[in-house]
């Protein structure tokens, strides 16, 4: 079986919708089967998962931490859409206002286009 390079396009709110957890479960299952998750592009409400000060109760799914684990396991890039990040006040600047969680970075919609060009499949998790 040939192993594939996947990109995930996640637009689901991490707190109030199922989509982001489904994306994560897909990613973990793909990795367990020997595939690669090259990149995850978060847009719209989904970018909130990259906020450094998320404070999720310990008995609820630890989405942010599980995305970060993916980076350590497979070198996955976690990219937050710059337009959405700006609206939500997520900042990566060096002026002391940095509020991104580790391993997340901000990137333009061009990265989503790049995903379609350099990965075998792009899977959208909308809601």
């Amino acid at each position: 079986m040939s192993h594939k390079r996947f990109a995930l396009y996640v637009t689901a709110n991490p707190i109030s919708r199922q989509g982001q957890l489904s994306a994560l479960r897909f990613a973990e299952a793909a990795l367990a089967s020997g595939h690669h998750i090259a990149r995850v592009f978060f847009a719209g409400d989904a970018v909130l998962v990259g906020h450094a000060e998320l404070d999720i109760p310990s008995d609820e799914p630890a989405l942010q931490q599980r995305w970060q684990t993916l980076v350590e396991a497979d070198g996955t890039e976690l990219l937050l859409c710059s337009a959405a990040a700006q609206r939500y006040g997520l900042k990566a600047d060096a002026s002391g206002k940095h509020n991104l969680a580790a391993h997340f970075s901000i990137s333009g919609l061009g990265s989503l286009v790049e995903c379609t060009l350099d990965c075998d499949r792009v899977i959208h998790f909308p809601g």
Binding site: Y9, T11, G44, L109, L112, T116, L117, H124
Partner: protein, 126 residues
Amino acid sequence: MKTQHIGIVITRPPHGSDSASQALDTALACAAFDQPVTVIFQDDGIWQLLPQPVASPLGDKSLLAQFHLMPLYGVASVRICQDSLRHAGIDAGQLALNDALNSLAELKSRAELSNELAQLDQVWVY
């Protein structure tokens, strides 16, 4: 250069969520990066193309003027679902298309759209 034909399917009405705004941003970005893009209005998405007052009574922002820019930004094709129009009791003549969008947009049945979607490399539904 390798290209990917991207389908953006708009299924939500103009008010209540920013789903169509995300769809539009993504469509314009993909077109700006020289990818062929097909934008499809179907189900409640067709309401996006009806005439809207400049100042929305709900206080949200109308996207109609931006939809009119799709041809200018190089969106390759625009499809409007004929069956969705019929179900909503809307005549194609009621749609607020400017000249550029009017010449780009084509009415298609749901069956025809389904065939077209099957030909695309990526399909994202909003």
